[in-house]
Amino acid sequence: MNTGGINQAVVKRMNKLFKIIILLFFQLGLLAGCATSGGQRTAKQDEVLQKVSQELAEDQLLDVWIELFEPGELPEDKEDARGLSLDIRKAEAYYIPFYLRGVMEKTGYWGAVRVVPKNTEGAELLVRGTIVSSTGEELRLEVTALDASGREWFRKIYKAKVEATDYTSIQPPSDSFDALYHAIANDLAQFRDTLTDAERTNIRQIAEMRFAIDMVPDAFSGYLGKDDKDRYTLLKLPAEDDPAIQRVRLVRERDFLFVDTLNGHFENFYRQMASPYLEWRKARSTEAAALREIKRKANSQKALGVAAILGAIAIEALGGSDTRVSTGTVRDVMVIGGLYSIKMGMDTNAQSTIYQAAIEELGESFSSEAKPMVVEVDGETRELTGTAEAQYEQWRDIMRKIYASETGLVPVSSSTGVTE
């Protein structure tokens, strides 16, 4: 017997196995690394909203701007996407940040919390989000938080599931996914608490200087440094009585006023949307749960029916004439019951089609209700933003000229890009 050859083969196979194990560990490690950098959190149903124990000093309150969410993409699977639409997602892209705003305001950790259109400059803390999934039964959001210095606080996917019955006690202004909103607000508050007072002040100052640079670059471009990772550093601060910064502050006040006005439109949208949105999610969840249940029952009914008929046949085949006489009624009941169960299974299959149609109809109905609301708020946002942008451009121009006139310095370029 060539034991040496066998041993060599065993050793080779062991080595190969070892390599596979090492590779698996390596891949698992990579996956774990991805999960840590990205982060995912499933909100527990009993997640309590963390609030301040005592009022915070005004100069330690960071203003939060929540961007309108990205509507994300609908599920590729046709079954999963049933009754969902991009129109609904667009409505949710307004609804969700506005709801989050309300939750964050209640915590006492923040200054003004406002919803802003995408790419709005000037936030102290900016929260961005994408709707990964929203079905009524599940909500999954990707949320990124970054402060004015460009530091990313975190990027996480938040996930929560509810059941149709969870909607029974929910009415606006509550939401069935409150736990998820609480989780986001709590994480933000937790990160905020890790900052020192000086760091928070620094964030506020950088936000102001970024706005000042946007308005009068000639005067303030030297006040901030920016590295290749888009992180800002405060290099110096203007004197409190510097007329240029005082003018910038006047404009910034108007910027806040503009954002507040926009939020008035968002609030109107939210108020119109809250009830029908809740009703849609509730009905969809109910239908989806019923659909799952009926599919499960259809399968088990058919299986039971077949088993009953097989049982009856077995009695018929195995029993003697006496048995056949004595079990005649039982066999009949088994056959009838089996056929009935199979029929029921087929009926419930047909019923599932009705549920699918119901889910689609609910989606279409809510889409047609939400679409004009979205179009309206979208139009108002664009109109107001356009007006403000044109106004800011004019202010930029005037402030640069005033600065040049006061200092005798020739502006680097005019608002139109022409050297003055």
């Binding site: 008035g264 609030e267 809740l278 006061e406």
Partner: protein, 243 residues
């Protein structure tokens, strides 16, 4: 003007100034000058001093040449005040320009304020009434546009309450829109629309799921009493099992 010419002019003017000053001193010492002659000398000297100072200023601001030590431009410029009739006018023009721009900025800020206030009024007028409002976000009191709170928690409460009433209405409407076999948990037609033929111990179909509803409907429709009884038995068994 070339730097050399500017320097030449400065030296000539400075020389003239010194010469006139010396003559004036000598004339004063001689005591033969009338008051008018003294005044004329003083005006002449001042004019020459201004000219020298202007020459120094021209060299220091308009040429790249360094300010000369002789004549002592630095000393001359230190005591030199810009003639009012020329430079004050220039300063005033610059200041006026700045003032005009500040006025324009302030006016524009005011106009923007008014526009936003009008917009806020429009927003408020379009705010859904309490009946249709879904309540304020996140359970917080809703801020009015403009950052100020409506300050009306009770309004929010009402809004929520009213929305609850509305919700019932919506639900009814939603039910009306429901396709056949729609929202489960709603009473079946048999239990709500028709007189039920169910045995007394059979509850109403309010909490029936789809399977129970089908059993109920089959039992109600069945005309054979024996089969009907079996179907009701099946219904009871199913209901007791599903509870």
């Amino acid at each position: 003007m070339p730097e050399t010419q500017a320097l030449q002019l400065l030296r000539e003017d400075y020389s003239s100034l010194n010469q006139v000053k010396t003559e004036f001193d000598q004339a004063l010492k001689g005591g033969g000058l009338s008051d008018r002659e003294k005044a004329d000398y003083k005006i002449w000297i001042r004019q020459l001093e201004d000219r020298v100072a202007e020459d120094c200023l021209a060299i220091s601001t308009k040429t790249t040449a360094s300010v000369p030590v002789d004549p002592p431009c630095e000393k001359i410029l230190a005591s030199y005040s810009v003639p009012a009739d020329i430079d004050i006018k220039g300063e005033s023009t610059g200041q006026e320009k700045t003032d005009r721009m500040l006025e324009q900025l302030n006016g524009s800020l005011g106009e923007f304020d008014e526009r936003l206030l009008r917009e806020q009024d429009r927003v408020k007028s379009k705010r859904p009434t309490a009946e249709s409002a879904g309540g304020a976000a996140g359970g917080a009191a809703g801020d009015s546009a403009g950052g100020g709170s409506d300050g009306d928690e009770s309004e929010e409460g009402n809004a929520a309450d009213d929305s609850g009433q509305k919700k019932q209405g919506d639900k009814q409407t939603e039910q009306d829109r429901q396709p056949a076999g729609g929202e489960s948990g709603t009473p079946s037609k048999s239990s709500s629309g028709h007189k039920s033929t169910a045995p007394k111990d059979i509850p109403d179909g309010r909490n029936d799921d789809v399977v129970a509803r089908q059993l109920r409907e089959a039992a109600e429709k069945e005309t054979d009493p024996e089969l009907k009884k079996k179907l009701w038995d099946e219904y009871r068994r199913y209901k007791s099992g599903s509870r």
